[in-house]
Structures are given as C-alpha cells and as structure tokens.
C-alpha cells in the first residue's frame, strides 16, 4: 500500500536538512508502529519518497511524502497512530492512498509556490514598481555556482502581498521541472535583496496529477 502524506515542517525543525528529514520521518513512522515496507538487501531502508528537497531553513506548509506499507491500513488509523509521535514542528495535513504503480513523485513536480517575508525598506509603491519592471524583462541573467542562466522563464508568478514595517511579503510560483527549477533566493537576488534577511515558506509543491 502506498500513502501520500501531506505535512508541514515548521519551527526549529526547519534547521534539519532534507536527508535529516527522511530520518525524522523514518523514526516517527517506526514509533507509530506502522508496517513500513523495507527495501531488500543487507542494509534494508524503509521505502519513503519526498517530492522535492526543502532547503535548510525553509518552512514547508504542504509537503508531500510517499510512504510504502507492507499491510493495508485504514487512513484514519494511520493518522491516529502517527500524530502523537511526531516531533515538534512536524504536522500531518492529509493522508491519501495512491496507486502503487503511480510514477515517482519527484518526476511529477511542476512548480513550487512560496511566500517570502523579506526585510525591504522601500515604500510599497517603489517595491511594486521594481517587481513590475522585473517581470517586464524577457531575460534576467542569474549566476549560480559559476553557471549563468535566464531566471525569467522560471518565474511563473510574482506578487507583492504587503509591505509594512520595512518588511515585504511576496508570493511566487516558480517552475520546478527537471533542469528548469527556480529558487526563491534567486528571485530576491534579482530584486536586489540578495543580502536581506528573509523567511521562506514553501506553500505548495505542485504535482502533475494534482494540477
């Protein structure tokens, strides 16, 4: 049986890396006593798959993980045994069954959505103009680890929600296809906010199947 569990990762737990998170899940599921399916071999690992790595320090609001079980369980029962043993910062949002033959989630991600709160000491009007200017471009050259690429097509949406007390709240949807994946840090950088302190909330990981 394959379950798709949607969860949030918040609080101090955001300082656990992607690999750490896999382990956090593995141990939580073991505490819950669910019949995890394991890979074979001398070093069996539980079968778990996260859709897309959540960078260190980012809050995840609705992150999906696929969990394979050896025995079918009732989804409600699954949640009931899991909720009390989750560590601080991890919350269950939804549990759904997925066809076991369904393609791996990593291959299905098309976009990610972010809400970013960033220090920005500009009046709302200036900020809005700056964003509009940027979106009007067809090419925004960005460099990461020595590689130059065009950031603009990766920004599917970018909106300013609010500016107050020198902080701006931005919404963005970034393309997340293989080889064409946008990072919110790059967007801030392009806005001239590369050094500003920001809090990143990934609000959605969009999969092909779910829209």
């Amino acid at each position: 049986m394959r379950l798709r569990v949607t969860f949030s990762k918040k609080g101090w737990l955001i300082y656990s890396s992607h690999l750490d998170l896999m382990r956090v899940w593995e141990r939580a599921l073991r505490r819950a006593g669910v019949a995890l399916a394991y890979s074979g071999g001398y070093h069996p690992r539980p079968r778990l798959q996260l859709a897309r790595a959540l960078p260190l320090g980012h809050v995840g609001e609705r992150e999906p993980i696929d969990v394979w079980l050896d025995e079918p369980v009732d989804q409600r029962e699954f949640s009931q045994s899991l909720v009390p043993v989750l560590p601080e910062g991890l919350k269950l949002r939804q549990v759904q069954e997925v066809r076991s033959g369904a393609p791996a989630m990593q291959t299905q991600v098309v976009a990610t959505e972010y809400r970013v709160r960033v220090d920005w000491d500009q009046p709302a009007k200036t900020a809005k103009t700056r964003i509009a200017q940027m979106l009007a471009e067809t090419e925004i050259t960005h460099t990461r680890r020595g590689k130059r690429y065009n950031l603009r097509p990766l920004i599917e949406r970018l909106e300013l929600e609010d500016v107050s007390e020198e902080r701006a709240v931005l919404h963005m949807r970034l393309s997340a296809r293989p080889g064409a994946s946008g990072r919110p840090e790059a967007v801030l950088d392009a806005l001239g906010l590369g050094d500003a302190f920001a809090r990143y909330h990934r609000t959605r990981v969009m999969l092909k199947a779910t829209g």
């Binding site: 609080g11 656990s16 750490d20 141990r27 505490r31 001398y42 260190l56 320090g57 601080e88």
Partner: protein, 630 residues
C-alpha cells in the same frame, strides 16, 4: 528571560549545521520554567554532534526531569563559527530547551569525559557570562559542578568548579540537587559546606594542598606535593567515589536528534566496570566493581526504547562486552526478538577469541562491515606487561576465521609508549599487522583491508602505571616513523596521534592544582577544542606554561616515586594504592594477574564499599591468600 530569538533566527542561517543550536528534539523535555524551583543545566563541553551520544548526560537528564520540582535542560559548546557569531551579537550561551542563558539556572553540571575539554568548559562559562573561577562567583551565580570520567583527577580544574561528583552520578546528583535546594536560604559558603557532606562530592575549597620546599626548576617556588589536608575535621579525605549498588533502570526515553550526529543511535549499558585488570586502563580500575544488567531487563528496555524513539540501531555499551556473563544468550535473544523490527545491534570491540566471531556473526546477520580487535601491543611480552594476555597465535587464528567467514576489513588497535617498550616491540606491531594482512590476502586477495590505529599511551591516575611518565616525544616520533615506513601500501591504513596532543593529554591528566593557572592562561590565549587536531593551538599552551613558570615536561614525563603524594589522591576509587603498586611491580616482572571474576585479588573495592556491596556484583569471595596483601 529567553535570549533574543529574533536575533538567533538571523544568526542561524549564517552558521554550519544550525540544527545543533535549536533543540526541539523528540523526547526533549520543556517544563514550565516558572513553576519549578530548581533548574539544572547539563552542559557538554564539546559540540552537539559529539555530546548527543553521551549516555551519562542523557541518564541524568531523565533522572532529574523525573523529579517533580526540578527541571533539567541541555547546552553544548557551539562550534567556532557559532561562538564568533554569538559573541558578535552579544548573545550568551543558552539552553536548548527554554533558550535561557545559562546564568539563569541554579545549577550547571558540566560533563568532563576526557581532559581535552577543559578549555572548552571555560569557554562555555565565559560564553554564558559566568566568572570562571569558583572564588570569583557569588550567591547570585549558578552552582558549577562537574562529573564524568576525567574527574577522577579533579585537581587541574579545582579552581573553576564549586564541586565535583566523583564516580557514578545517578544517586549523587539527585542528592546534590536536594541539598542545594534545602539550603537555599543560606550563604554560598554554607551551602557549599553542606554539599561537601554529600558522599562522593568533592568541594575543592575545603582542602589545602601544601608543596614541598623543593626549588627544583619548573615547579615555581614549590616542589612536589607535601600534604593534602582537609581544612575542617568534618570534611572527608579522601573523597570516596560513589557507586550505585545495582545499575538503575535503563533510560529508554532517549532524545532523538533531528540532525545527523556521531553515533546516531540508541544506547544501553549492559554492564559497568571490568574485571580484566588491564594495567593501562583507567576505566577498568576506576569503575569497579562490575555490575551487570540482567538479560531480561536489557531486552525489555530495548523494546521500550524502540517504541519510544524509533531508533534503527542500538549500541550495547560495555568496557568489555565479551565479559558480560551471558553475552551469548543476550545476543541470540536480541537478534531473535528484534529481527523483524529492522533493528541493528552494535557492540564495542570484542576479545580475540573464536567465540567472538560466532557472536559477531549472529549480530551482523549477512552484513559484513569492519571487524575490530584491540590486541593493544604487538609482542607477547608487552601484552604480559599490560596484563592483556592473548598469545599472538590466537590473534592470527581468530583473524583467519574472521576473514574466512566473509569479513574483508579488520581494524586493529594498538598502543605505543607503554612502560618498558623497546623498538622491537613496535616492530612486533608491524609483524602482527603484516601477518594479519597476509592472512586476509589469502582469503580475499586484494580486497583484504587492515586498518591500524596506534594510540600513544598516556599514563593515567588510579592505574598501576600512574607513577610512570609519558614516553619521550623523540622516542614516540621514532616509533611512529617506523610504523609509517612499514605499514603502508594497498590494503593497509595507519593512523596515530599527534605527539603534541598526547603530551597535552598527559599534562592535563597528571596535573595538580597549580595547573589551573596554565589552563586559564591557555584559554585566554585562544586554546579551545584541544581534542580537535585542526583546532588545537599547542603554541598557546606552551606560551601559557612559559607565562606561569611551570614546566610541562615535569608533569608529562617525570617518573614519580612510589612514596610521592599524588595530586589525585584527594580522591579514592576504592582501589588501594598498595594494590596498584603491586600491580606495577608485577608488570615490571611481566607477571600476569588473572581476571578477578574467578578469584578476587583484594584490590580494595570490597573493603571500601563494605556494607554497600550487593550479590549482583561480580566480585567473588575474597581469597584469604590474596588478602594478605592488605
């Protein structure tokens, strides 16, 4: 008041592994700060990654948090990047649970598992804004106490701590907390006085050390110790370490880290103490008597640990697992019981006998990682000197069995610099390694791998070698050069200690109260993380010695005479000096002493803890012949 969390949030993205500094792990305990009268912070003076696998700290954390009116939180020493960031931001060292500055606690218990953390302990106090020296602190400051293995010689750190818990901490720490609470209305001096009455607690300020009028160079104006005195008649001298009669129930609600740490697994102690009597081993001498945990208790606790933590691996902790009387039953039952739960089991190095191979095979199932043995010395005669007598023949037989059963990698532990060691003994290490490698190649061809770890022996207090000086640095370098020359090439890997690190370890292990000045100076000059090869600042230590006029060589290399009063005699482990001396003499005659599980050699433990002993202790009835030694 909590530290400024907003500031912290801005610091965290700028440092490596910020998960070290945030707490919130599963099974960590956050109590209502204002509802609790006594607040204890358990501090580990090295980074989180190492401190999280310290079972002693975890045990005390549980015991204290189980008391209704006490809370216990944790702090680890931040890594250098975080220290710099915190100092830059004016943020004091805080506890992981409540994020309170350490200065807000009533008691800070610092764990001193080994000597190389001494400057780190000072760094923690300073980062917390707490005066370093006990006599600079006042009633408003927390009580600063230490526990852990290094406190068997508390003297080098005596100036910095208000008290030391010597020996098993489970009961003593609770008593200490209770006495401290009960005396809360009193002046600081009176409270410390009361603490000094807790069995196993050493409060340095109530002792005076006199030095002989020996103007030998390097000892300042003063020579070796002439007398150790208690300032008042009701102060115990020596302070006898604490022992728990039986091992308290194992801690099962272990904290589960949310980042990767070293030894990222559960742990359970299967026995405490060791009867082998290896003469170099401080733990083996100082942690007597042997107390075993029943098989049933271990199995039950493992089951509970599994359910409460979800760990996928458990380490069975022991100084010598092969000596656990029912190791065979234990391992078989563990494997049987937890096979379906995907729990792997790990054991420390086993003795080199054929039984160990079967044991390891049972634990490993089909897996074959490395197989570890610790022959400790290369030649039969050196092994007789240290009382770890396994004939080389036997090592080779076992190794060949290990290779044949599918292991391709063997790890061997040796020591150099043992008393009476000659170059030929070091050559014997080389021979042994080469023979082992050859045996491996016969079975696995070029896949055979032998990893060799050669530690420099540092003579430790409370052992039969406590009088011996560290082997000279010239000699050590020559021995290491020989090993480097000979142990190399495909399938062989060698590692050994930096001689400067060993020298520092020896100085700190063998020091007296005067060393506090050096430690303080070295820290002020920037020494910290002395156990880390890439951080150790040996130059700072040498400058500190020069400034204080003390000679490090006299601490590290001097052979001490049997009638010299040793700094650590202010503490008693229960093992008599007389017994240690006889053992030292026997070592020079290369005479072995049998495992005292079979016959008691009257080391003094049973006398020291008369009335406290229990049938679960592994000491047999003392042999009247041996007791003649008294």
């Amino acid at each position: 008041m909590q530290v400024d969390l907003e500031k912290l949030e801005r610091i965290l993205p700028t440092v490596q592994k910020p998960g070290r500094y945030v707490g919130g792990e599963y099974n960590s305990v956050v109590k209502d700060w204002n509802a609790i009268t006594t607040r204890v912070c358990l501090a580990f003076p090295d980074i989180y990654d190492l401190g999280m696998s310290n079972l002693g700290l975890m045990i005390l954390y549980r015991i204290l948090n189980d008391l209704p009116d006490v809370l216990a939180e944790r702090a680890y020493l931040p890594w250098v990047d975080m220290i710099t960031a915190m100092r830059g931001a004016g943020m004091p060292l805080y506890s992981l649970e409540s994020k309170r500055p350490l200065g807000d606690f009533d008691i800070i218990g610092i764990s001193l598992p080994y000597e190389q953390v001494y400057t780190n302990a000072l760094e923690m106090l300073d980062l917390a804004g707490i005066p370093l020296r006990s006599d600079e602190r006042e009633g408003s400051h927390p009580l600063i106490v230490a526990g852990g293995h290094a406190t068997f010689n508390p003297e080098p750190m005596a100036a910095f701590f208000d008290g030391f818990v010597i020996g098993d901490g489970e009961e003593a720490m609770v008593e200490l907390v209770e006495v401290y609470r009960a005396t809360s209305g009193l002046r600081r001096e009176a409270r410390l006085k009361a603490l000094a009455q807790v069995r196993g607690v050493y409060v340095p300020r109530f002792y005076r050390v006199r030095y002989a009028e020996d103007p030998s160079p390097g000892m300042g104006e003063r020579g070796p110790i002439a007398a150790i005195e208690a300032k008042t008649p009701d102060t115990p001298l020596p302070v006898v370490k604490r022992v728990v009669r039986t091992l308290p129930p194992p801690t099962t609600r272990l904290i589960v880290p949310t980042i990767d740490v070293s030894h990222n697994r559960a742990a359970i102690e299967i026995n405490r103490g060791c009867t082998r009597g290896c003469r170099f081993c401080q733990a083996g001498m100082a942690m007597r008597p042997v107390r075993e945990r029943p098989v049933e208790e271990i199995i039950q606790a493992t089951d509970t640990i599994l359910r409460q933590t979800g760990f996928e691996e458990i380490g069975l902790l022991s100084l010598s697992p092969s000596d656990y009387s029912q190791i065979d039953t234990l391992v078989k039952r563990m494997v049987e019981r937890f096979a379906d739960e995907h729990l792997s089991i790990s054991l420390p190095a086993l003795r080199a006998d054929s039984f160990s191979v079967t044991l390891a095979e049972t634990i490993a199932g089909g897996r074959r990682t490395g197989f570890t043995f610790a022959p400790e010395a290369g030649s039969d005669r050196m092994r007789a000197t240290i009382n770890k007598s396994i004939p080389s023949r036997q090592v080779f037989d076992v190794v060949s069995e290990v290779f044949r059963r599918g292991w391709q990698t063997i790890k061997l532990y040796f020591m150099i610099g043992l008393p009476g060691e000659e170059m030929e003994d070091v050559r014997a290490i080389v021979e042994m390694v080469k023979t082992v490698h050859m045996i491996g190649r016969r079975v696995h061809g070029r896949q055979a791998q032998v990893n060799v770890s050669v530690n420099t022996f540092v003579p430790k207090p409370h052992t039969p070698f406590q009088w011996v000086g560290l082997d000279g640095s010239r000699s050590i370098r020559d021995k290491q050069a020989l090993l480097r020359r000979e142990i190399r090439g495909r399938g062989l890997k060698l590692d050994y200690n930096d001689p400067e690190a060993s020298m520092l370890e020896a100085v700190l292990a063998r020091g007296d109260r005067r060393l506090a000045e050096v430690i303080h100076q070295a820290w002020a000059l920037g020494a910290r993380f002395d156990a880390w090869d890439d951080q150790r600042d040996f130059g700072a230590w040498m400058r500190a010695f020069a400034k204080t006029g003390l000679d490090p060589d006299l601490y590290a290399y001097r052979q001490r005479s049997p009638d010299e009063l040793l700094p650590w005699e202010v503490v008693s482990t229960g093992v008599r000096k007389r017994f240690l001396l006889r053992e030292y003499e026997r070592s020079r005659r290369r005479e072995e002493l049998s495992d005292c599980r079979e016959e008691c050699h009257a080391c003094g433990i049973l006398t020291a803890f008369q009335g406290e002993s229990s049938p679960v202790w592994c000491c047999p009835e003392p042999d009247p012949e041996a007791t003649k030694d008294r």
